[in-house]
Amino acid sequence: MTENRHAALGLSDEKVLEMYRTMLLARRIDERMWLLNRAGKIPFVISCQGQEAAQVGAAYALDNEKDYIAPYYRDMGVVLRFGMTTQELMLSAFAKAEDPNSGGRQMPGHFGQKKNRIITGSSPVTTQVPHAVGVALASKMQKKDFVTFVTLGEGSSNQGDFHEGANFAGVHKLPVIIMVENNRYAISVPLKKQLACENVSDRAKGYGMPGVTVDGNDPIEVYKVVKEAADRAREGKGPSLIETVCYRLTAHSSDDDQRQYRTEEDLAEGKAHDPIMRFSNYLKELNILTSELEEKMQNDIMAEIDEATEYAEQAPYAAPEHALKYVYAEQEEV
């Protein structure tokens, strides 16, 4: 018999269903984007597939009305929880003027939305770690009780900005949570060629913060450790490093072919650990999710995605000369 593991963490049945829906929504949006890419309608996709449990589990452990997040390019599950809509994600995929992330200036996956405290990001990896630490410094200086949550991949944990940012946060005991979504590949380079230590979380000791490695395919487990880290941060006890181990179910991006460097067995193992299937089974075994409810959820999600895709496809691009705007602060034309 499956044990209920969420109730003890204060998660209601409604809440875990909502988490499941958010995971499923992220997966289905991502799948739609691949279809649109292969149909020649959008130039680029970079996926969240396989990492939805870690993203959604973590995001639900935060306060989405006051915490700040500095997501990396796979974090569709995180930004959905923080208020970005399906339509907004599609506007970004189609690079349309209404895209709240960048107005069509950046590739998809480069999230940013001030009203939802989603800090704008770039393509050079790991630059967001010092930014999150800076926001956390502001939180401490201004005596606010929000925490800042930043994510990156395991390959990115080799960058200088990871070490510089984590060390700064450790020295100044700042309210920041650094979560490494370890999907075992940095494009084509496997974990063992990226890290000399066993776990990314082993590095936490060097920055004077707790480090923990958890199963990134289990949203409940991720929720638990991120909640603990958020509580610690809010109590003034400083930063935490969390490593969520998962599988990358797609190629690095729509421009990559992972069959060149991953074996059939490796890919099959990833599929066998699919967090969506696993969480669905957990909820069904506890009679929280029924097949009927799941089907309704699927139908609602597909209708939402259809509508968003239609809207985004029809939406206008920015005018060409809009490329000249917003280099510096400027007076808005009357």
Binding site: R105, H131, G134, K325, Y326
Partner: protein
């Protein structure tokens, strides 16, 4: 009006802005208890405490990156790079991040941050404590680069930089810190970023320069005046984006232009100034554009013979001005 050194004017600007706006804070290496290796933050730790004058770990990318994060949140960080030469580990944060935050977010986020750094040679600083690094950043739209030459300008421009809603690199000539003194009002004035300033009116030749070069040109102008040569001197003050209008006007005024930088010549800020003049004022020129700059070697050597050879000086400036006048 008080007579202050260049560095005291900088300290005063930060002190006034920190008193005026509690969002303003300082972060950098040795800026706290020590007051900075050049003493630019002297007394600020005692006045504002360790929470607003933050001694950071020795890691330049974090100094820039943490500042960027705090600025995006809405604070007004002043980050100090101990020497401009050591800004290189932070280039990714400055160029890929600070410069592009507003543009890439379609005006949703911005980065109101100042990065101060002492630059320049003539202080026996050798290769890595003497460089002029401004050209590295002077083709990055989204950044502003300010290099004041006088204590008056230093205070007014630094206060404007701190209040600016976009990232400003503020380079201070380290030899000017105690060498250059001048009158600095106590009042709360700012100087508009992006505006060059005529430091001397003249009719025969035009000198366009910035930083210490302004003082060398002013000294040389006094000497050649005795021989009847009248020099017009334009101080760029903001070297990115350049004040094109002032450059074109100054070039047209005399038709003979000398451009001076202590940076290495090729690809320097003066290359762009020369291009602006060539593009907009070519037919007003009576002589080819002349440039005086450091030689194209990696950086300034330590030994006094070679350092002197590399550096511009009042004598070299005077000679170049006389040659141009005689053309």
């Amino acid at each position: 009006m008080a007579v202050l050194s260049y560095i005291d004017a900088i300290t005063l600007a930060m002190k006034e802005e920190m008193e005026r706006d509690e969002r303003v804070f300082i972060l950098g290496e040795d800026v706290g208890r020590k007051g900075g290796v050049f003493k630019a933050t002297n007394g600020l730790y005692e006045q504002f405490g360790e929470d607003r004058v933050i001694d950071t770990p020795l890691a330049e990318s974090a100094i820039a990156g943490v500042g960027i994060g705090a600025a995006m949140y809405g604070l007004r960080p002043i980050a100090e790079m101990q020497f401009a030469d050591f800004i290189m580990p932070a280039v990714n944060q400055i160029v890929s991040e600070a410069a592009k935050v507003r543009y890439r977010s379609n005006n949703d986020w911005n980065c109101p941050m100042v990065i101060r750094a002492p630059f320049g040679g003539g202080v026996h600083g050798a290769l890595y404590h003497s460089q002029s690094v401004e050209a590295v950043f002077a083709n990055q739209p989204g950044l502003k680069i300010v290099i004041p030459s006088t204590p008056y300008d230093a205070k007014g421009l630094l206060k404007a930089a701190i209040r600016d809603d976009d990232p400003v690199l503020f380079f201070e000539h380290k030899r000017a810190y105690r060498l250059i003194k001048g009158e600095v009002p106590d009042d709360d004035y700012t100087i508009e970023i992006g505006k060059a300033d005529v430091k001397r009116e003249g009719d025969d030749i035009t000198v366009i320069t910035y930083g210490l070069g302004v003082h060398f040109a002013l000294q040389a102008a006094e000497r050649i005046e005795k021989d009847g040569i009248s020099a017009h001197i334009l101080d760029l003050r903001t070297i990115y984006p350049l004040d094109q209008e002032a450059i074109i006007e100054a070039a047209k005024k005399t038709g003979k232009v000398l451009l001076i930088t202590e940076d290495t010549k090729e690809g320097s800020v003066m290359s762009e100034v020369a291009a602006i003049i060539a593009e907009y004022a070519l037919f007003d020129l009576d002589a080819p554009i002349k440039r005086l700059a450091g030689p194209d070697v990696p950086a300034m050597p330590y030994a006094p013979t070679m350092e002197k050879f590399f550096m511009i000086s009042p004598e070299k400036v005077e000679q170049a001005m006389r040659e141009l006048a005689a053309f």
